[in-house]
């Protein structure tokens, strides 16, 4: 008993608290009493510690079903209750058809956007995942470390695969493919272009989707590609050239280098979501017969390895580095190059390789997904706003339900089933609409997803998730709010404890919607003006009057010169030039440059173009100093350079005049600078202007640039074609217009702009729907007030202002909030371009004006109606 006297110990509180948690109130008192009695008995017998332990054990022991809290036995048939919920829901929904129709339409539009965005993201992340072994496949990549930047290259030197095969045992398979897109091929004197992949049977087995005999139509690619000078066509190419797959087999095709290949098989077209598409596979032995094999040349070859999933890639690192040292660094220089293994599935989303691989920006997909989320949230907000506003009307119903014994859960169930009903209708309609609008979307955005809207399990899962999300975000808040109503107060006419709470939430949500719309509008405006900038920016050369004729293939120089001469005789041709490249549309060479006449001794990267004397004139590039022609212009050596301002700056010469006569060495040819040209763009505006050297000489240049005079050129193309045919009767006349070709450069941006515009419009529509519903409701509620005001002499404009002022206030706040957000986001986007528009106040002002007009139009649509109504009408209503 002494222990009791000291502190009078009590049973452990934790155990008691646990017991109180699980025990039902009817049981706890007597049960706990028994346990306490036992505890004090034990306290005397065995001391405090053991008594405590036993107490814990006892509490756990009595945690049995008989003691558990019982759920209130409501004894309600849940099915009946549910059907009652739906019946009441339908009645309420049909009471306000207009408002609910707006909400459903808004929600449906949101659902369409979400589904389409989901499919887009799914497509973009599914590249090359159709190969069953895609987790085991890696591409070998090289990083080249230049002083100022690192170049990520997905293509490897030709002999890489062979060397890997001999040096590594961890690789299950090593194979290489070489891509040659838009390659000219001749079939029976007709010229076509084809996307060629030089591959062997190891490629077919490695990319195992193609190894499925279901993909083969005629012949077995495994056997065909093991031979030399053989090819397998895809079905669509076979049909395009030969009419049918059967016709194609056995025919001979000629590659541009005069190699003849035989069509030995036909297979199905590859899926569109591959980074390595092809129209025909040509056996790799064919490629090896004419391609060089040296580690110093980065070619058109991608090298792949297959590694069993069990192997840890990190452990291959030392071996890979050793390999890199042995083969790559030996040729390229120490620490200049490194090697990596890139998982096949990551290729499409790895922006670092965008210069030689078709990639999609990950942040672009994130943006899309985020926009989808915002749009659906905007649509849900409409419902929340309208529902809370209507809560006043429903309060009597809720009070009555509670008085008649409805529990909180029942009120919750009632409102959740209403939102469920709305959500399911909107989802169903949205799904149908998405299916029909999908092809248009895919065309609008050039996403190349294909027109087949596929009902896959993952889509259903997504839709289920969407349903849950919509139901919860739409219904939960109103349902919780209403279920908390105190029945007595409600019946007495006191609706909410603090009515301002609901109102300020509503205002906040509207402001949120407006901010989103506003930011989207600003983004659309900024992107649009950047696109305009692409068109209007002075590029340093004239793109509008330039046409480029391709003179590809094995054509002697004399014939090229003859073509140039004949074209110059045409009345609408102002100037022509033969060159190795065309700025911004047909690439540029890239090599190192040194100058013995400059203080700058290091070798740096320079872009070069080989051209004849007329190049600057035909391109309309301004000459700042010196001359831009050399005579006699000869075939063998370069005897003069024209360089751009950037190059002068790079070699630390102060002005163009100073540079004239200085010696530079490009591609091993040393010659003097004879002229300096004003800077002109050679690449898209994403990139800075780089040093450029134009080398003067005569060679078998593949491009003939034609500067033309009149707008009627398109009609005159026929004349040029006739001229072409007199010289090259068996070759196709192939040309492009510079401005059109350059348009494709900004495809990504154009696509992005279209998508942003489409979603901006949709989000604005949805937000406006919400405003219409809400303003309609609030003006109906203030019918009487307006009537009284009119009787007392208020004018229509003052009443308009009275109703709209709430929204104007919200609008102003949303402007203030959207400005920094939009500024940050669009600024980040413009960072991607070396040359971009400046963000200016008018872009924001324009967005503000658009939003203001739309908001006021929407709101006043209702308020004008309310303000114009005859007070007699409104006051008589009871």
């Amino acid at each position: 008993m002494d222990s009791m006297n000291k502190t009078s110990p009590k049973p452990p509180q934790l155990a008691d608290r646990f017991m109180e948690w699980f025990c039902s109130p009817e049981v706890i008192e007597t049960l706990q009493g028994d346990l306490h009695e036992l505890y004090y008995e034990r306290l005397d017998e065995m001391g405090r510690k053991r008594a405590n332990l036993h107490y814990y054990l006892d509490v756990l022991d009595v945690c049995r079903p008989f003691a558990w809290k019982k759920r209130k036995s409501t004894r309600i048939n849940h099915l009946d209750m549910l059907s009652n919920h739906f019946k009441i829901s339908l009645r309420h929904l049909s009471k306000d058809i207009g408002g609910n129709l707006l909400n459903i339409t808004g929600l449906m539009l949101g659902v369409v956007c979400c589904i389409i965005i989901f499919l887009t993201i799914k497509y973009e992340t599914s590249f090359d995942s159709f190969h069953e072994n895609n987790k085991e496949l890696y591409r070998v990549t090289n990083n080249y470390y230049y002083p100022t930047f690192t170049m990520y290259v997905g293509q490897t030197p030709n002999p890489m695969a062979e060397a890997l095969k001999t040096d590594f045992t961890a690789f299950e398979k090593v194979f290489a493919i070489s891509t040659n897109y838009d390659h000219p091929i001749t079939v029976e004197e007709e010229l076509y272009t084809s996307d060629i992949l030089y591959a062997d049977q190891h490629f077919i087995q490695g990319f195992d989707y193609y190894n499925d005999p279901k993909q083969w139509i005629i012949g077995n690619p495994n056997e065909i590609l093991a031979k030399i000078n053989t090819t397998v066509l895809t079905q669509s190419l076979a049909e395009k050239i030969f009419g049918s797959s059967q016709e194609a087999v056995g025919k001979i095709m000629t590659l541009s280098n005069e190699t003849k290949i035989e069509v030995a098989g036909v297979m199905k077209d590859p899926p569109s979501n591959t980074n390595f598409p092809f129209e025909q596979l040509v056996s790799r032995l064919t490629y090896e017969s004419f391609a060089g094999s040296h580690f110093g040349n980065v070619s058109i070859t991608n090298t792949f390895v297959q590694i069993p999933e069990a192997v840890d890639i990190a452990q291959l690192r030392p071996a890979l580095d050793a390999f890199n040292e042995k083969y790559m660094e030996a040729v390229w220089g120490e620490d200049f190059v490194s090697m990596d293994l890139q998982p096949l599935a990551e290729i499409h989303l790895d922006e670092r390789f965008s210069s030689d691989t078709y990639t999609t920006n990950k942040s672009y997909l994130w943006t899309l997904g985020f926009i989808g989320l915002l749009i659906i949230v905007i649509a849900c907000i409409n419902f929340v706003n309208l529902a809370t506003a209507k809560g006043v009307k429903r309060s009597l119903e809720i009070g009555m339900r509670k008085i008649l014994g409805g529990s909180k859960q029942h009120i919750l169930g009632q409102f959740m089933s209403e939102s469920f009903l709305l959500a399911i209708v909107a989802l169903g309609l949205g799904l149908l609409l998405a299916q029909y609008s999908f092809p248009y979307f895919s065309e609008l955005t050039n996403l190349n997803i294909g027109n087949d809207f596929v009902y896959s399990p993952i889509l259903w899962l997504f839709i289920l998730g969407l349903l849950v999300f919509i139901c919860l975000s739409m219904g939960l808040y109103p349902a919780m709010l209403f279920s908390k109503f105190q029945p007595l107060q409600v019946i007495r006419g006191k609706v909410m404890a603090s009515p301002s709470k609901g109102v300020s939430l509503r205002r906040g949500l509207i402001a949120f919607q407006l901010v989103i719309s506003q930011v989207l509008i600003i983004a659309a405006i900024v992107i649009g003006s950047q696109l305009d900038y692409f068109q209007s920016k002075d590029l340093g050369f004239e793109k509008e009057s330039l046409m480029v004729v391709k003179v590809l293939g094995n054509i002697p120089i004399e014939k090229r010169l003859a073509l140039k001469q004949k074209f110059e005789q045409l009345s609408f041709v102002e100037e022509t030039t033969l060159s190795s490249h065309i700025p911004m549309s047909a690439g540029h060479g890239s090599t190192g440059l040194t100058s013995q006449d400059s203080e700058i001794k290091d070798r740096f990267n320079v872009q070069y173009i080989y051209a004849d004397n007329d190049f600057l004139d035909a391109m309309d590039i301004e000459l700042l100093a010196g001359k831009a022609s050399i005579s006699p212009i000869t075939e063998d050596t370069v005897r003069g350079y024209v360089v751009n301002e950037t190059l002068i700056g790079r070699l630390a010469w102060d002005n163009p005049e100073e540079a004239i006569g200085k010696r530079i060495t490009v591609n091993g040819s040393e010659a003097r600078i004879m002229g300096v040209a004003k800077d002109f763009h050679t690449q898209s505006l994403h990139r800075q202007i780089k040093p450029v050297a134009i080398a003067y000489g005569i060679r078998d240049y593949p491009y003939l640039g034609v500067k033309y005079k009149t707008d009627g050129l398109r009609a005159s193309v026929g004349q040029m074609e006739d001229t072409w045919k007199t010289l090259f009767p068996d070759r196709n006349f192939d040309y492009f217009f510079q401005n059109e070709q350059m348009g494709t450069m900004y495809d990504t941006e154009v696509r992005f702009s279209k998508i942003i515009k489409a979603f901006t419009i949709i989000s604005i529509i949805i937000a406006c729907f919400g405003l219409i519903g809400l303003s309609a409701f609030s003006s109906v509620r203030r019918f009487k007030e307006i009537g009284v005001r009119k009787v007392l002499g208020a004018s229509v404009p003052s009443i308009l202002f009275l109703i709209s002022k709430e929204f104007i206030f919200i609008m102003l706040i949303s402007f203030a909030l959207s400005y920094p957000i939009a500024h940050y986001l669009t600024g980040a986007w413009l960072q991607e371009f070396a040359y971009s528009v400046d963000l200016s106040w008018w872009m924001f002002a324009k967005a503000c004006i658009i939003t203001t007009i739309l908001t006021l139009l929407t709101v006043s649509f209702q308020s004008v109606k309310a303000a114009l109504i005859n007070p007699v009408e409104s006051l008589r209503r009871e």
């Binding site: 007597t30 706990q32 009493g33 028994d34 306490h36 036992l38 009595v62 049995r64 008989f66």
Partner: protein, 109 residues
């Protein structure tokens, strides 16, 4: 006839034997004393509630006592149905056991 488990029967008997003083701790003590084996408090209460549900026991709550921290006791007593069930169970045992030769239960002849 109602199904009665062996432990349940013991609890019923203990409740009957304790008369007016049958509550959790007392029943446990009696069973421990007579049976030698300690029933767990959880199992005991679980059985008591079960027997009450079946209508074999009735209960009432007594006054608060200090040694239980002011908590009341829940007393049990047999209902007439409970007594009848006990009798039936006992009868069954007797019927069966009296035919066993060599088993002396003290009430032969």
């Amino acid at each position: 006839m109602i199904k009665l488990g062996a432990f349940e029967e013991l609890v019923l008997l203990a409740v009957g034997a304790l008369g007016e003083e049958a509550y959790g701790v007392a029943i446990k003590a009696l069973l421990t004393e007579k049976g030698g084996k300690k029933p767990s408090i959880g199992a005991l209460h679980s059985a008591l509630y079960r027997l009450e549900d079946k209508g074999l026991l009735k209960s009432w709550e007594g006054g608060a006592t200090a040694e239980r921290g002011g908590r009341r006791k829940k007393f049990y007593s047999l209902t007439s149905f409970g007594i009848k069930t006990l009798e039936e169970a006992h009868q069954l045992r007797m019927d069966l056991s009296k035919d066993i030769k060599g088993l002396n239960l003290g009430f032969h002849e």
